[in-house]
Subunit: 412 residues, 2 copies
């Protein structure tokens, strides 16, 4: 293995999470301490910052502020949703990246993101190999969607799951307070995979969660949905439902989009999301008091409810990326392996090939979804419960969050 010496870049990409900065801190902290890393740069807005040569010199930051990254939601360096070209079609970006890498003697590149980001990371890694520029590239996973291939779970999922389960438990208390009954539809993120929506089952397992849960892994049937809700409402006087934003009909059409044309032939913009749409449909069928609640951005930035396990694992993923890269390994993504011994959960890192990870989606196993397609089975709860454990001691100021304040000094 080569003993590369040079500077490193950490970039963040895709939708943020409550703990993506904990991973970035894992990279930054380990890299600043590593004798083979001469300088540590943070790219502004991910790969776009590399292309624009806008790199922050992380050694200029106050170490105490850097440590606050563990508790600061969203991507502190800035994120992007930049789709990099196929290098065989257009290698302009890659040439520019190589130019910037050479300029700053970048020998380590860490990219912190989800599926699309791992694709970017993979393409850059392969390009550098092709042109013979020595640079160890390592993907650092993050996604609330929990849909990355080959890893037991993804940093960010656990905290979002904890937010969702806690919020569902609280709404459950609220939504049954009157004797007049109510139906509540909670819309949860997840366009293609139902992991986050399944997390509502953690609330149900505590005796205070949704009666019905619908994920995109199973085709949605509006008539069956309405019948399910009506039946439970009539039985119990209340009904709570969790739905993925990505539920779709058997023909693949998203429910959120398909219904627009079905219910409104006048071309009016349909305001509000899926929760409002389903709440309206349920109201028509039951006449009940109905409320649609969209957890929206709150579920992915609710760092005040972060799982300590998630924070620690996210940091560990970033640190492992640096350790492996500086040990000479490249072209990998850090993943997690779950170890259960005597009912005790621990987690260790492993390495996955970037090529395998890029653009492969992992969905909720069908055997964790009930036969009716309207509920989540205990196997999922067993899987998710260890991930949400532990309460961090949150830094506060005035009893409000104290987030990291970075100086963001641009490298010359």
């Amino acid at each position: 293995m080569s003993m590369l010496k040079g500077s490193c870049i950490i970039g963040q990409s895709g939708g943020p999470t409550s703990v993506i900065n904990a991973s970035a801190y894992g990279v930054i902290d380990a890299a600043l301490k590593n004798p083979n890393v001469t300088q540590v740069f943070g790219a502004e807005h991910g790969i776009k910052g590399v292309l624009a040569d806008r790199l922050f010199d992380m050694s200029q930051e106050d170490p105490a502020e850097l440590e606050l990254l563990k508790y600061t939601p969203s991507s502190a360096l800035g994120s992007c949703r930049y789709k990099i070209a196929d290098p065989d079609v257009d290698d302009t970006d890659y040439k520019r990246i190589l130019e910037v890498f050479k300029k700053h003697d970048v020998r380590y590149f860490f990219y912190n993101g989800g599926n699309d980001s791992m694709d970017t990371c993979n393409k850059i890694s392969k390009y550098m190999q092709k042109v013979g520029y020595e640079c160890n590239v390592m993907g650092v996973p993050k996604t609330i969607d929990n849909d990355l291939f080959g890893t037991d779970h993804c940093p960010g999922f656990s905290s979002a799951a904890k937010y969702i389960a806690t919020s569902c438990m609280e709404v459950y208390q609220d939504a049954r307070v009157y004797d007049t009954g109510m139906i509540c539809v909670v819309e949860i993120m997840g366009r293609h995979a139902g992991w986050l929506t399944a997390a509502a089952a953690l609330a149900t397992a505590q005796g205070a969660g949704p009666d019905l849960i619908y994920v995109p892994e199973v085709a949605f049937d509006m008539d069956k949905f309405l019948a399910d809700v009506k039946r439970i409402y009539e039985e119990k006087g209340n009904c709570m439902v969790a739905v993925s934003e990505g539920i779709h009909y058997a023909d693949g059409k998203f429910v959120s989009e398909a219904e627009v044309s079905a219910t409104d032939g006048f071309g009016h913009a349909q305001l509000g999301g899926l929760a409002a749409l389903l709440a309206d449909a349920v109201k028509k069928v039951t006449g009940a008091k109905v409320r649609g609640i969209e957890l929206s951005l709150l579920q992915r930035c609710g760092a005040h409810l972060a799982s300590l396990t998630d924070i620690e694992e996210s940091y560990m993923a970033g640190k492992a990326a640096v350790e492996n890269a500086t040990a000479g390994i490249s072209d990998k993504m850090v993943g997690f392996e779950r170890i259960m011994e005597n009912g005790q959960y621990t987690c260790k890192t492993k390495l996955l090939n970037l090529t395998d990870v890029a653009n492969t989606e992992k969905k909720v196993p069908l055997e964790w979804i009930n036969e009716e397609g309207n509920g989540i089975l205990p196997a999922f709860v067993d899987y998710a419960l260890p991930l949400i454990q532990g309460e961090p001691t949150l830094p506060k100021g005035n009893s409000l969050p104290r987030f990291a304040k970075l100086k963001k000094v641009l490298a010359k």
Copy 2:
């Protein structure tokens, strides 16, 4: 003062809060220990439980579970929105209440709620006086809306304010993560008073909150709103807005309702709330990426973010109600008086006449709102900041909330 001896009833009414059960626990705990109180009953669904003679015997509950009420959101005894008649028009309900009071020898009646509940409490108090039935009646305040007359603030407001400020700070981080800009409209509860929406200014004061805040105390002007948002978005590349659900035009029409007819002459149900509506209007004017977020029920049941100050004061209000009632006082609501000494906040209880409190609304003082009508001044932050202080040690199970489980044994 008479030394009344007899049983007591505690009822909860109106929309729940994160800490209304802390007040109920204050009543229950103090009453169970009070030698003049022979039995402690919890009314199921407020006054409806009295009318139906459905009273829970609180002495049957496990004391440890009762104490968990301090951390359990929503009304544990069940709530109602029952409008009691004017006794001069129809005294049926009052006769029935008197009958139930006599049956159980009820000599203390505590009613835990907001404006409408204090009206109910007041009417019952006056009726009992009129018919000469000795019963000391005491209102225990609660409302996230913070709009009760004569009290410095209301139990429940502080925790909702803390939830709103924290969530705004988190969304602020998330909503500016890309370099492409975004406008975010957060809809906050408050039909007639802007206290809760003003709480978003606590986030702004921390450097991470809305650029613009609109409350119902000032008439809303759509053109000016759109111009405000456009200007800030063009200046900063991002814009975050907080709006009360109750903002209205100069003619008094709620924006959420008025726009339905204006934009849709076909009688289609307008799905989604005000946030979606304003987000749509902003999108049309700016072309920006826009997101509407409704904090919905989450803000009033988010007990995991409760203010310790609020929990303690809510308990204190319930306890004070029992102490005063058993000392012979009746026909009052417990209120709060703020004491600031050397910059130190403390709070003590005081008593207000139920007649004065019933149906009087307290609004945000106009001098706390900026001249433009789109921002909240530091005087409000000074007022609200002491109220949100302190983090409770939340009881958890599996790192999720552990709410009180009551047996709810019906009294015979």
